[in-house]
Symmetry: C2
Subunit: 337 residues, 2 copies
């Protein structure tokens, strides 16, 4: 097996570059000081960037380099989807130890590029270097949305319905099983390792012009809804009985009712969460049927200080902590425990 | 001293966000899924991204967090400058160990934001997380250039003059002294820790329309000229006696003539290297005088397979290796040694 040390940085860049196909609007891509790009007239620029670090964001004990390549790109595509945009350009930074196998790096790149290509996204820049320890991945995705059509987190209004795509908690359940040394069912494992960015849904929702706020579920339903509530200065009530759950998740839930917490606050679903006036709901639910992606109303926006109420199946209500997952504090809790 | 663990990720982001002033064209900045930006009509997008890792790209033995903040931004501004563009938007990813002092992180951010602001660049996105080991910094800068005005590496033509801004080797000399445990003179230390991106020069050169190829000096004169030669399919001859050297560098060179190698192949000068027809040289040299930045012709482009010839002061010629610094291979040599 060839190690990165033996191949060298420039040969690695040459190999990556050879895999990249020309893309629309690319005047200069990999191989100049900066990418030079022509955006479509009448479109605004959307940019999302992420930094992923081994043992903080991923663990090679259960994540393959190929999974990592897919997920690193999917997570950023999902951010563009959450604005209702069209992703167009990708930048990848990768640092791995010199002892990393070239085949692992190539598996990472192949999956990253395959997912980008499937969405019409072109790799136009990046960076490789040697890490003294952990693998480090930086991803930047640029996309566009027609002027005034991008959807932020700040437009939710009292009376709006809260809607979520797909099913909740599958990824967190898979991770919990992996962390306990169990093997998740294939569906759950796929939801964790190969999340699908809901790009077509985001674009379709932006085109309707009736979505008031949107976010993608990376930190978990309660936390990400919390971001909308804070940005929009409203509160919300979620109906726990309404949360959309997959069959494998439902099966696990029957054995352990505590798992409902994963649907409410587990991370990495990469579904879209959005708000809209109740009058517009039927047309939007139709849109979901056309895209073959279930859309489920799960709650309602109310006037009031940002806060989240949960309504149990019994009708009882309780308040819920909304702030997102904090990497530092979470680790500190574990350190302290 | 407060540690990052005690402050938490969200509080850190809030602190950073509070320091950011509104910027032109920013419809949504920090705090949404993606930044939403309106580029000036008739301008193309330029994007540069970098990944910097402790002990690979920087060493806290002689680099302060404040220096790192400045340099991380300067290096990416320099890439936009090398295209002749106007930098506009900044994204910062920062991972540090939970034991990192909040004051160190704030010093990093303060200098990064100060340099961005000095160039009219707005922080519109980013990411913070905990690193299991090294500090990791990812930087993305977006800029623009008028359609067709950006300058790439691929336009150098036989007969063109090769010109460099500022002086060469100062940064590499400072680094060599630091690595030997010496204290560089203030001028040299500043050239290493606080490089200036030549943004105004790059813009002025792009406006002339007569620069055929341009790159910034990050890997060293010979390597970076090598990138132009490969992209333009030409060769070049450099006059060693013509290399512009600062007074402190010249003084060190008198004590040790071997140091000339640092002016030729030392990295991190962040000067601009460009080519243009000889007829356009006088007007461009005037431009340098107006900007109070020396511009020095150092060689000539010739027809032929990409290769680099060096002409010694004696008139003797020898060939020179042109490929840039390879992080993996360089480390491997050290490991093997």
């Amino acid at each position: 097996m060839m190690k990165l040390n033996e191949l060298g940085e420039f040969a690695l860049i040459d190999r990556i570059r050879a895999q990249v196909k020309p893309g629309a609007g690319v005047l200069r891509g990999i191989g100049d000081d900066a990418a030079q790009l022509e955006l479509p007239v009448g479109e605004q620029l959307l940019t999302s960037t992420d930094l992923l670090i081994e043992s903080c964001h991923f663990d090679f004990a259960w994540t393959t380099p190929a999974d990592l390549g897919h997920k690193a790109v999917a997570v950023n595509l999902s951010d563009i989807a959450a604005m209702g945009g069209t992703p167009r350009y990708l930048y990848l930074g990768l640092a791995c130890p010199g002892s990393a196998e070239v085949s692992a790096i190539e598996a990472f790149m192949t999956e990253a590029l395959a997912l980008a290509e499937a969405h019409g996204v072109t790799l136009v820049g990046g960076d490789t270097c040697r890490s003294p320890g952990p693998w480090v991945v930086s991803v930047t995705v640029e996309g566009t949305a027609a002027t005034g059509r991008a959807i932020g987190r700040d437009g939710a209004r009292p009376g709006d319905v809260v809607v979520v795509s797909g099913s909740l908690g599958d990824s967190a359940l898979a991770l919990a099983q992996l962390q306990r040394g169990q093997s998740p069912a294939e569906f759950l494992a796929r939801r964790h390792h190969r999340p699908e960015a809901r790009v077509a849904l985001g674009q379709a929702l932006a085109a309707t012009g009736c979505v008031s706020a949107m976010i993608d579920l990376s930190d978990g339903l309660s936390s990400d809804l919390g971001h909308i509530l804070e940005a929009s200065h409203v509160r919300a009530r979620l109906d726990l009985a309404a949360l959309p759950l997959s069959e494998p998740f439902t099966a696990a839930l029957q054995a352990d009712p505590e798992l409902l917490e994963l649907a409410l606050s587990g991370g990495e679903d990469y579904e879209l969460l959005f708000t809209l006036a109740e009058a517009d709901l039927p047309a939007v639910l139709d849109l979901g049927r056309q895209l073959n992606l279930p859309l489920t109303p799960v709650g309602v926006i109310q006037a009031g200080e940002p806060s989240l109420l949960l309504r149990e199946a019994s009708g009882a209500e309780r308040s819920c902590q909304t702030r997102g997952f904090d990497h530092f504090a979470a680790r500190k809790q574990r350190d302290d425990a």
